[in-house]
Structures are given as C-alpha cells and as structure tokens.
Symmetry: C2
Subunit: 343 residues, 2 copies
DNA sequence: CTGAAAGCGCTTACAG
DNA sequence: CTGAAAGCGCTTACAG
C-alpha cells in the first residue's frame, strides 16, 4: 500500500502538543476533555488524516465491536428458500444500526460450526455470536452456555429457552391459524407435510395443526401427517401418496414452499385441481409461491425482521442480559391455491 | 464470560520453562525450534487450554487474516436473483480454503460503500477487499487503486481492467452464443431487453447480441433493443411493447430471469404462445426460470464459482500481484421456452 | 481537565 | 536453537 502513511495517536499528540492519552480521550468522546483541547486535537487529526486503528483498540479494550455470524453449512439451507439471504440482510441492517461489524463463519463442511465458534471466542475475534439456524446442533448452544458467552439464536430450542436470547415466530400459532383457515373455507380432511421432525419449528407447527384440527372437530389422523426433508422431492413423494389416498384429503399444509412445489407438480400431473380438489398452503412466502402458475397461499415468517431482532437480543446478551426473547409476527398471504380462481 | 480464564503466551512460557518468544515460534510453526522444545511447549499449551489471541497477533503482524466483503446496498440486488447468496457462498468456500475470515460490510443506505471501504482499510480491519457488485460505483475502484490496497472485483469495469484483479464471465460470448442459438432454431427477429445500460455487463451482452445478429445475417434494429431495471415490471412493460410490434419479434433475449418473468406474464395474458410465437431466453438460471410453468432457457453464470474465484484473485492481490483475471465458464440451459414442448 | 505509565497479547529483528 | 527487548497502536486506572 502506497500513498498511505500510518499516522498514530502519537503523531497527533505531538502535533497538538498534548499527550496520547488526551488524543485517545478525544477519539472516544470522553466528556472530561475541554472543548478547546478537543477542537485542537480534532484539527490535528484531520490535518494528518488520522484514523484510529480498530485492531489496537480492540486489543486494549478487550472488545472488538464485532458480531460473529454462524451460517448453516449445508448447501441446501443456503439456497432452497429465501430465508438465509433475507435473515442475513436483517442482521446486516441491525448491525449497522448498532454499530457492529459482522464476521462470517467460514466453516468447512468437516470442521463444523462448533469449531468456528470456538475459534471466534477463544481468538477473541467477536463480542457475541448469532446462530442463524436452529438446526445448529445443540452442542453449539451447550458450549456457548457453558462458557456463558453472549449469543443469540434465530429460532428456538426446546431446552433452556428461558435462559437463551432468541428471536422466533410463533410457529404454533401460525400453523394453528392456517389450519383453522382451511377448515373455515370448508376443508374436512387436512393433510400435512412437515420438514425434519427433529426440528423445533416442525414440532411446533405440528402441534398447532393438531390443536386447530381438534378445535374444528376434525379428527387428527396419523396417516395424514408426513415429515421429510426441505426439498421438492419430499413434496413430490408424499404428494403422490396423498393423491392416491381414499378418500383423498381436500387440503394440504406444507412447511416449505419448495416442498409445496413438489406436491403441486404431482397433483397437476395427476389432474387434481388446486384449489378445487385440494387446497394447498405453505410456509416461507418465497418467489416460488408468489410467482407460481397457481400462486400458493403461504406464511411469510419475516426473515429480515428475524435477523434484525437477533442483533437486538444479542446486544442485550453482550450487556449481560439473559433470557431475552423477541417474537416476530408472521403474515399469511392468501392466494389462489386456497381461494379459488379470484385473487 | 465465566469458566474461561485467559491464558497467554506468558503462562505457557512459564509452565514450559521457555521464553514467550519460543512459544510464539511454536505457534507459528517456525522450523528453527527443536522438536523437543516444540513437543514440550505444545504439551503445555494443551494442558492450559491455550489459544492464541487473533487480535493481538493481527496487531503485532499488521496482518489480519481477514477479507472484507462489500455487498450491494440496494435491497433489490440482494433478493431478486440468486446471485448474491450464491456468490457469497462461493466467497465463504474460497475463504475457508485460503484460511481467511470474512468481514461483511454493514453500510447503511446513506453512508455508502466508499465509507465502509475506508473504514475497513484505515481501521486496519482487513488485508484485502472483495467488491461483490460491479455496480459498485467506480469511486470505490478509484479509491482502492489510489491507495493501492489489495482488492478484487466480481465483474468488470471498462476502465483499468488490465490492472485490476477480477473475475467475470465472458458475457459477450454468452450473449453471442445465445443469439446464435436462437437464429439456428429459425428465429428471424430477435429482440433484447437488457438491464441498466450503464453496466459493463449489459454493454457486453448487447455487443455479443449485435455481433451474432450480424453473423446470422439478421439486421440489428434499434427498436428491438430495450434497457431498464432488473425487475419484473421492466419485463412486463417492454414485453407488452414487443407483443404489439408489427411484425412481432419471434424471439426475445432478456438479461435476467425476473425481467423474463414479467415478459412471459404479459405474453401469456395476450395469448402469445411460448415458444411457438416467441422464444424466450434469459440469464441467471434462477429458481424462477427452472420452476416456471414454461421452464425458461437461461444462462447460468455460475455465481458460486465467481465468488470462489474472487477470493483466489484477491489472495494474489494481497501477495502483490495486479491485473490477475479469471474467466468463469457459463452454461446455457436449454428449456421449453425455446425448445418446444419436449423437454 | 490532563499526563505518565503500565498494559492488552502477541511477534520479530537482533544477539548469542 | 533460544532469549531479552522493543514494538504493534491504542486505552485506562491512577495521580495530580
């Protein structure tokens, strides 16, 4: 790097005829410094083109002003739905507002999230950590809790929730409301395809679905509930099973648009009309659900707000607060797949 | 943070009965250290649970091991096509392989990219910078060049290309090939809707399109070329103009799937068949183009490889190399929108 | 309101 | 092959 001379507090101090301590205090806006001195020092900083070295500051203060973001490793998680980029955007927004930098996890498939977390913490690279995926194995949460390092979770765990700072939707209510809605419009046999059943989010949605069935006086049937992966294939596979059932379900709730897409595809192949023969409702409100030929009713979980909220609860965590939770409202977008031909 | 005692080189040194210098050399794998000493020190590090402080190391070495990533500010750029997350994934992959951490820009709408860049550089937070969007105003490139700070560009500028480390597709050839293909399948009037005409990528694609027309003995007509924004509306607007033209074009090349989507929508509304009446080909190979009811022929620019490549050329830049360029191959996925009913 | 001094935790010529 | 010493650039009790 040419054309750039390193200028330090000492250079500024010398030019201003004060001590480095004073320059430092001017930098950090210490109110004890007289206006006169402050002006003088500031003039000198400008004259020299001084800019504080963040690394040195971090070392001296044992605070980095940086938040570590642990992204999911698996490729699928990053692409198949818009959650990741939207949530990240929310995190960026939140971090900007709070004045934090963002350090991204660069974990390789094999090293794993925990390794990255340890590296961030023990290398003193960050002041706090955001776990973007509740899929993140519980060992990460365990570790973070064991060292009491500030962190925030997007999503929920079933364990420790009361002591963890996290941000989530009310997935129970969302599924409940969606199921009730399908019942309201006259659907009697409502099937469901969920994602990985070990995930908290899946479990909560199933709970909400069951509760709504009961309240609607519709029996819950094991044979109408499927769980699988977050992909088109899962939707295709269970969709075709559902299509062949006798009597056939007249509604289907799916926990991700891509799964829904697979189901819709197979229904169409089998000449089953949506929504006439079967209504379809989904989650995540992705491009697919909006732009699909039969636009699909979908729950928008507001990923950006989740991301932004995660920064807020993390900042609380950094301040020492534990157990802070933010619930982000969801929105159900009703579309043709449940509403009939009229939009 | 409880349960975590800070252990430093000095602690290790004391326990091992050596000097901190020696411990430091063991950490950095200095070959001059005897195997015996190395073993002893390593045993002590493990015993104490020692982990080097990255911040202190950065300060002492004036190298951070961190790459700054400048993301586009505008919301549209982050969502409307899969480029951003895919490229970011490539960057993550590349950075993992090269052993770098990633610092994300958290620029607010108003502060702008240049401010972030200056902050990264002058605060000594990063060893190099990746500009993710060639839309990044040239002032960033100018600044980075003026201070000769290592950086890499995803995309191209028209200026200085020979001195900048960057990674790009051959957009000229991609558009050329696509146009030739449409001509091969018998299309005679090929229209084009491009993105922002100030962008290098748009200009190169237009060049390729013109060249291919000429070589196919098809006249280039100004009235068949449109440029606008990367959104559905642009596609809808110019799509409807194209639909009304007499004689109507029998093929359309669009530089982004979302634009294509808008055009396809209006064609369908006007009962214009794809591909019978008009063939449609696009860029970016997004979910939309693949899953659309009429799957759209699209050029996959391989965003992940672009991201990964950008890390490679940046690492070269950090080593002092300038003017390194990597061309990432594209792939044309031919689909129903140009091929007829058969997939 | 300001300064001298010690410290944050590591690295690296220099000397032996 | 190893150590003593100075340094990276800032901050912060402590003292006045």
């Amino acid at each position: 790097m040419k054309n750039v001379v390193k200028v330090t507090v000492n250079d500024v101090a010398e030019l201003a005829g004060v001590s480095p301590s004073t320059v430092s205090r001017v930098i950090s806006n210490n109110p004890k410094i007289s206006q006169e001195t402050r002006d003088k020092v500031q003039k000198c900083m400008e004259e020299l083109g001084y800019y504080p070295n963040a690394i040195a500051r971090s070392l001296a203060r044992s605070m980095t002003g940086t938040i570590g973001v642990i992204m999911p490793t698996r490729k699928e998680d990053l692409f198949l739905n818009p959650f990741f980029p939207e949530a990240l955007r929310g995190i960026v927004k939140g971090a900007s507002a709070e004045g934090y930098d963002l350090l991204l996890s660069t974990n390789t498939e094999k090293s794993g999230e925990l390794t990255v977390i340890k590296n961030f913490i023990r290398g003193s690279k960050v002041d706090g950590i955001i776990l973007m995926s509740s899929k993140v194995s519980d060992e990460c949460v365990d570790y973070l809790r064991s060292v009491d390092f500030p962190f925030a979770l997007i999503g929920s765990t079933f364990r420790f929730d009361e002591k963890i700072n996290h941000v989530d939707n009310d997935n129970y209510m969302a599924a409940y409301e969606l199921t009730r809605y399908l019942s309201m419009i006259g659907r009697k046999r409502i099937a469901m395809i969920g994602g990985d059943e070990r995930l908290t989010v899946t479990q909560k949605r199933i709970e909400g679905y069951r509760k709504a069935l009961t309240e609607s006086n519709l029996p819950f049937e094991d044979s109408l509930l499927f769980t699988g992966k977050f992909d088109e294939e899962t939707g295709y596979k269970y969709g075709s099973e559902i299509a062949k059932m006798m009597p056939r379900p007249d509604a289907l709730i799916v926990t991700d648009d891509l799964i829904a897409f697979g189901a819709v595809k197979v229904f169409r192949l089998m000449n089953i009309s949506i929504p006439e023969d079967i209504a379809v409702a989904s989650f995540n409100n992705s491009v697919l659900s909006r732009y699909s030929d039969t636009p699909i009713t979908s729950v928008d979980i507001n990923a950006t707000a989740l991301g932004e909220g995660s920064v807020k609860v993390l900042v609380e965590a950094i301040k020492g607060v534990r157990g802070k939770k933010i619930i982000i409202p969801y929105t159900i977008y009703k579309r043709q797949s449940t509403e009939g031909k009229a939009p």
